[in-house]
């Protein structure tokens, strides 16, 4: 149904100065902020109401999590580099950086699965204690977001990149929006890491 022209798909709206997609993705991020806000709020309430709470570093693997933090931060910078390369019309570099982003994200998942694996080996499950309940739920939901990001980025790396031939402007917008989402996933981790592991 591409026969009807919807305005401001790749040209910013004159008043707001952004495209439809960007406004949409920011609204989506706003709702995600509220989603994680609800979860963080639950975490604070349960922790303050609990007589004892383990120090994250005494039960969780901080070096692994630090590595994961580095992976995610790096993937964020490669994502933004992918966008910059595309803006410079360098498709080869774009594909390299986007591919790297996906690989780093996969690396994050692998490290995470090791982390989960050792927890399960030691019979630490979400049902073990409120701490583990919070830990598994928050990181698990974050992992789902990472997987979502991988799927989106993989789509733009392979089948979705055809759009570069037909409508480069819109494709650039799409990459920027995918990037916004990906940075948000990184941002959530930036808060999850210290609140769960370090304090």
């Amino acid at each position: 149904m591409s026969d009807i022209a919807i305005k401001h798909i790749s040209k910013p709206h004159p008043v707001t100065g952004v495209t439809n997609g960007k406004l949409g993705i920011w609204l989506f991020i706003a709702s995600e902020i509220m989603l994680f806000g609800g979860l963080f709020s639950a975490y604070i309430l349960l922790r303050t109401g609990s007589p004892s709470w383990p120090h994250g570093s005494s039960v969780l693997n901080v070096p692994l999590a630090t590595l994961n933090t580095m992976l995610l931060i790096t993937s964020s910078v490669t994502m933004v580099m992918a966008w910059a390369s595309l803006a410079l019309k360098n498709v080869g570099k774009f594909k390299f950086y986007l591919g790297l982003t996906i690989l780093l994200a996969c690396g994050f998942l692998i490290v995470k699965s090791f982390e989960y694996g050792t927890k399960f080996e030691h019979h630490h499950f979400p049902s073990t204690s409120t701490f583990y309940a919070v830990y598994f739920t928050l990181t698990g939901l974050h992992v789902l977001h990472v997987i979502g990001g991988i799927i989106v980025n993989a789509y733009y790396l392979f089948p979705g990149s055809k759009m570069w031939e037909t409508n480069p402007e819109q494709f650039l917008c799409r990459i920027e929006n995918a990037g916004l989402y990906w940075h948000f996933v990184d941002l959530v981790w930036i808060f999850l890491f210290p609140t769960l592991y370090l304090i």
């Binding site: 026969d3 919807i6 639950a42 979400p126």
Partner: protein
């Protein structure tokens, strides 16, 4: 929906997996109306048990499974299922999809002069995600232990130790929430970005404003419920204890759980959504009523700007009142005072909106068409609903009235003869635009008057029952002496409910017969001013023949010096 542009599309792409906002809007409307009717049927079953406790349901009873009714006598489990699902279906599957999904989708692009929604594919997706959520909710009735039965509020620990239906409820809710989020993001972007040239914010029809505020409420208030839903799902599926305190003993057994949770956490997160949700239910209704009143009084709405500011303020304040649903959970006086104050403050913009709408009648030339009758009836009905919120918002009076039938009467006055009447008004008003034919005025008026009488017969007695102290969600209120004392009212309510069902027959017949045999409608049968009437009837793919331009505000009726008593927004120079 026939149009030259889309004639080459296969049937399933044109009518089922369509990305056209009008088709999606119609899909939402029809599904929403069906769920509304289904939810109504659940309530009618409950009404039998309430009017004639533990008597076999005549004739119909034989069709029910023995886990729901034993020789026609309803079991308390089934009653609780009906109660929980009536609330869930009416709110999340009926009214919201109808008001935001149906009317919002169909009218927003038309009223802002856009060819479609900003993200047509996303729009289609949000309908189908809603549809899946609805199917999950509906299917949960056929589980071995039936559907969710912990009330639409699903308070833990009850909901956590409840049967499998609750898991379905939670999964269904995740789908419905996702659908609402996608839909409302779409509506916001459409309104802000796709408005026609010249359509400034203060030239928006009030309906657009109501949709804009509503969508923001959905985007920001729904996610905390999603978070809470995920936590409850974890409690049920993964054995966590987010909402389960330590040391619970359920039917003589110590519950095997780590404990350390807090049941009030759910209530906080739930009502953080559910109070804004009330305004999600009422704002679009106000929008519809404003449109119809302006058109049928043939004059501008009184205090349009005040109306807009009030709606925005209402939306904002609705985030600050949630704990007035929790006055009796043992909160400190400091907290309860704060929420009493915010509750009283939020009543002010509601009063302003209602007053402005009533004052809009003054100086008009009022046409008593069917949609106008429903719109007029909305005013006193919403008035009763709003006023009876006052005793509930004051903790002292709430001490006696909390969780009684008074509450039921209060919010049903807001939502049933309030919002649902407005939605009926909308259906009658925009039917000619959607189908090209008008609905019968005579049968519309029959529908209105019968509905108006019987719906008051249902909800008015509830205030008396509430004052008498009858609690809500009771399978058999006559177990209590104070329930037995008001039992005659239950019989009155039940008969009113069944008669209200009969009163919908004229509507249903009118609706279907008019699609094929109604009087042909012109492009602008009500002589209205807003942009949706500038399209051909019914609007084709892409809506407008030429890109519309807007020259004036939304309600320019009876402009002095004009030849006609309406000056459409898209016409240059007064008409």
């Amino acid at each position: 929906m026939s149009s030259d542009h889309s004639h080459d599309l296969p049937f399933w792409k044109k009518y089922i997996f369509s990305t056209d906002h009008k088709v999606v809007g119609i899909q939402y409307t029809v599904t929403g109306l069906l769920f509304l009717f289904f939810g109504f049927c659940l309530m009618m079953l409950m009404r039998w048990q309430l009017a004639f406790p533990s008597q076999p349901l005549p004739w119909l009873g034989q069709f029910f499974h023995e886990k729901t009714m034993v020789s026609g006598i309803m079991l308390p489990e089934f009653y609780n299922q009906l109660g929980a699902m009536h609330g869930t279906i009416m709110i999340f599957l009926g009214v919201v999809p109808l008001a935001v999904g149906g009317f919002g989708n169909y009218l927003v692009p038309l009223q802002v002069g856009a060819p479609d929604m900003a993200f047509p594919k996303l729009n289609m997706m949000s309908y189908w995600v809603y549809f899946i959520g609805g199917v999950i909710m509906f299917c949960s009735f056929f589980l071995p232990d039936g559907s969710a039965q912990s009330g639409w509020t699903s308070y833990p620990p009850l909901s956590v130790i409840a049967n499998q239906g609750q898991t379905f409820w939670l999964i269904g809710m995740v789908f419905l929430i996702t659908s609402s989020l996608l839909g409302s993001i779409n509506i916001i972007v459409t309104i802000v970005h796709l408005r026609a040239e010249g359509l400034t914010f203060f030239r928006f029809p009030f309906f657009i404003w109501s949709q804009l505020v509503t969508s923001f409420l959905l985007v920001l208030a729904f996610p905390p419920l999603e978070a809470a839903g995920i936590l409850q799902l974890m409690d049920r599926v993964a054995g966590t204890s987010f909402f389960m305190p330590s040391g619970l003993v359920v039917s003589g057994q110590v519950l095997q759980a780590s404990g350390g949770g807090n049941p009030l956490l759910w209530q906080h997160l739930f009502w953080f959504l559910a109070h804004p949700e009330v305004y999600v239910l009422i704002l679009p209704a106000m929008g519809i009523v404003a449109e119809i009143m302006a058109c049928n009084t043939r004059k501008p709405i009184y205090g349009y700007k005040m109306l807009v500011y009030s709606a925005i303020f209402l939306g904002f304040m609705s985030f600050l009142v949630w704990a007035h649903h929790m006055f009796l959970t043992g909160m400190s006086t400091k907290m309860s005072s704060f929420f009493q104050i915010t509750t009283m403050i939020i009543s002010i913009p509601s009063v302003i909106i209602l007053t402005a709408l009533v004052l809009s009648l003054w100086g008009g030339s009022i046409r008593f068409t069917t949609p106008m009758l429903f719109a007029i009836a909305f005013l006193p009905m919403f008035g009763i609903g709003g006023l009876t919120g006052l005793p509930l918002g004051l903790t002292a009076a709430d001490l006696h009235l909390h969780d009684t039938y008074y509450v039921i009467g209060h919010f049903h006055y807001v939502v049933a003869p309030g919002t649902i009447f407005a939605l009926f008004a909308g259906v009658y008003h925009w039917f000619p635009k959607v189908t090209g034919r008008k609905m019968s005025e005579f049968w519309g008026k029959v529908h209105f008057w019968l509905s108006f009488i019987f719906i008051n017969g249902i909800f008015m007695p509830m205030f008396s029952m509430g004052l008498a102290g009858v609690s809500r969600r009771l399978y058999d209120p006559t177990q209590y002496a104070h329930g037995l004392a008001v039992q005659p009212l239950n019989v009155v309510i039940s008969y009113s409910a069944w008669l209200l069902a009969l009163a919908q027959i004229p509507f249903i017949l009118n609706f279907f017969i008019s699609i094929f045999a109604g009087k042909k409608a012109t492009d602008n049968p009500w002589e209205a001013t807003t942009l949706e009437w500038a399209t051909p009837t019914p609007p084709g793919h892409g809506n407008f023949l030429t890109e519309p331009k807007v020259y004036r505000g939304p309600y320019e009726y009876s402009v002095p010096g004009a030849q006609h008593d309406f000056s459409p927004q898209h016409l240059e120079g007064i008409n």
